[in-house]
Symmetry: C2
Subunit: 441 residues, 2 copies
């Protein structure tokens, strides 16, 4: 069984070379084959519940012995309901349209000379994630669909579960006319270190986990990275805000799930509404949130602690909220651009001119008007699944689904056309007319 | 005059901070203002021909004293005809559509909750280019149009010319309600070194010049880089090629302008057509091209030198051509993916099945069917102007025009919508229906 040890003890260089070769073959695969594999993995996952949960139990037992914290234990644990979700996720990905071979542009350059811009896979993607073994299924499903070869590195504590899942995926894809190395697994931190240097064979890195992990990846590689380190998200309550709406949005953004990257970290309040808004907010929070406020805000919420400069750039991930009074929308925009992490920021106002300025000038991947920061999510945006949320400004930004896993190539189709005809004394002109045509030879 | 010394002797950190602030303001500028500035720069350039050419003359005199090679002298020199081209280029950029504030996606998430994906500027772009001072005008024109702040570093030999041009641009934009630091210039290599480390303030690097320059930039920064180091481009003459067409395409790809990145470097010939094709080619080249061929090919072109392994990965930029016989299209594809630089590669064949495979599996930014590699160019593609050709696979790939200088943000517009309504026991469903609407508040 070549599948059993996934890749035996291959060196990262060999793994990356195999991924490159697999990726090149995959770029010519049909969407029917790719969907067939994804659906077959879902079926096999359903049939293999016992062995997956067994492997997970062993990981859980070892993690318990080593004293893994309870939230991490919860994320590590797979049960039937989580497996159902994973299976549903794969079926959903199979149902999405083919992200590759889409014509983005078609131009007649001259008679018989056509230019197409067509989506194609990026090539080789390396995903480095922590704890949650369900991430392995989601990420590899998206990579299969987009015809990218993927190299997976999961958390050490989920070692047996990840191995079981990756073996299952390779066993299934091996039954199709498809490269077995479309999915590969690496296990050690040393292998990650080596992988980060393989610019020639790895096209994109997807770190998903703590800001420590993401920063480590960014600082140790010249390969493009998609992801975000921290989410320091803001809501700004403007002078023209509907204050009852503002209270409810702030409650949702802070309390509904405080441990995630798109929860509100800092609240900015226009000075003209502070006296009516802050006591309302304090009542709504009913002491469940620790407030840290600047001196002016403490006039209306004396129970708040004093906020410090460090608070503005600290990601809480818990029921703590920093509060600042601002005199103008400009001051709010400046604060967000200075202290935020360019992830997700919202404004609550009924003044559309102020909203427009805020939405344009705030330098973040997702900006919201009269809605909770918690909406910033690939599933809620309707992308089906996401490989992460990107705060980078090139390629994909914000929640990243299949669109972020493809690139494009330009295809020129001629009939012996020569550049020499278009230069010199009597150059032929280019026509450059839109063809509105799909590339299809 | 605050314009005169461009930025006096500011440190790169201060320059980058000013660029960031300028970029944030520019993101809210109207396309009318941006076009107005571009047209005013074109007019001012026309009025200031004398002083620009004077500055250029001084650069030329010094370069001559220092023994600059003749092709570089030619690229450095500005005359009235080059100035006319620069002015025409600016007018053309002003005439293109606004690349920002374009709605790429509009989705109703639920009643009253709308999601928009809208193009916006990247922010701060640093362009590092060699010799040609006309590149300064082209790059800054594209950056102005796309509302990006730009930091320019030109070649040392064009120092006076670049200073004259950058001052002119700042003088003009200072007359508008527009940030003066939209365009800044740095001059020393040490400043470039510092700039490459300023990830927080610089969003994109555009190196344009020798492969040494591009590799230096890539290796010394974690900021995303758009560009290409070398162009090792191939034409593959298939078993089903029209051989007369093939000879003319190869002549164009090799001889029409050999010193550029999209000229043919290596010719791959299917063994079944070698005996009829190679003598034809040799006659057409009439000894003007130095041929270096593998043993099998030398049977038909005995005048060729022996090719070595090193030739496959050497960018000639001159009238030299490496030739290899392959047994199958797969062998040609493998050769190109292995030795090429993923820039531009073509196939000459009348077999559409072989063409399809080649165009899909060759891992290059531009792939061509029955056309010369020399077509790979932003102007010929109809993009108006280009900041360069990218061999990177994320963000922009191939010739990069205005589209490569924008990113997007997601805008969520609600009416007090809370995530809490969409989770838990009786969650509201998302509708996720296409709105086909332009973002416009």
């Amino acid at each position: 069984m070549i599948f059993l040890n996934v890749n035996g003890n291959l060196e990262p260089l060999e793994i990356a070379k195999r991924a490159r070769a697999a990726g090149l073959k995959m770029s010519n695969s049909s969407v029917e084959t790719r969907n067939g594999i994804i659906l077959a993995i879902a079926e096999e996952l359903n049939r293999s519940r016992r062995s997956v949960i067994d492997a997970n139990d062993k990981d859980l037992a070892e993690a318990a012995k080593e004293g893994l914290a309870s939230p991490s234990m919860k994320r590590l644990k797979l049960d039937d309901s989580k497996l159902n979700e994973m299976i549903r996720g794969l079926n959903h990905i199979a149902g999405l349209g083919d992200p590759i071979n889409k014509t983005l542009l078609s131009v007649e350059m001259d008679q018989g000379l056509e230019l197409y811009k067509v989506t194609c896979p990026i090539g080789v993607v390396a995903a480095i994630f922590e704890s949650r073994p369900d991430a392995l299924i989601q990420i590899s499903g998206l990579c299969l669909k987009s015809a990218n070869a993927v190299i997976l590195k999961g958390g050490a504590e989920a070692k047996r579960t990840n191995l079981e899942l990756a073996e299952l995926e390779r066993r299934v894809s091996g039954k199709f006319d498809f490269p077995i190395d479309a999915i590969q697994l690496i296990e050690s931190r040393e292998d990650v270190e080596k992988l980060l240097k393989l610019d020639e064979f790895v096209d994109l890195l997807l770190p998903r986990g703590s800001s420590k992990l993401v920063n480590y990846v960014r600082e140790n590689s010249h390969i493009p990275v998609l992801g975000h380190a921290e989410g320091i998200c803001h809501e700004y309550v403007d002078a023209s805000a509907d204050l009852n709406m503002a209270v409810e949005i702030c409650y949702d953004a802070k309390v509904q799930h405080p441990a995630v990257c798109n929860a509100m970290n800092t609240l900015l309040v226009h000075e003209s509404v502070a006296d009516s808004f802050l006591p309302k907010l304090s009542t709504r929070f009913a002491k469940s949130v620790e407030l840290r406020a600047d001196e002016r805000a403490r006039k209306w919420i004396p129970e708040a602690k004093f906020v410090t400069e460090m608070d503005w750039s600290t990601e809480y991930l818990s029921l703590v909220l920093a509060i600042r009074i601002v005199n103008t929308p400009s001051e709010a925009i400046d604060h967000i651009n200075r202290y935020g992490t360019h992830h997700t920021d919202g404004i609550i106002t009924d003044d559309s001119e102020v909203a427009r300025r805020f939405l344009r000038e705030v330098n973040s991947a997702v900006v919201l008007h009269n809605a909770s920061t918690r909406f910033s999510d690939g599933y809620r945006f309707g992308f089906g699944a996401e490989v992460g949320i990107s705060t980078g400004k090139v390629h994909a930004r914000g929640p990243v689904g299949l669109d972020g896993l493809v690139t494009h190539k330009y295809i020129v189709a001629g009939h012996g056309h020569l550049v020499a005809s278009y230069v010199g004394k009597n150059p032929r002109p280019f026509t450059h007319t839109n063809l509105n045509k799909t590339w299809n030879i």
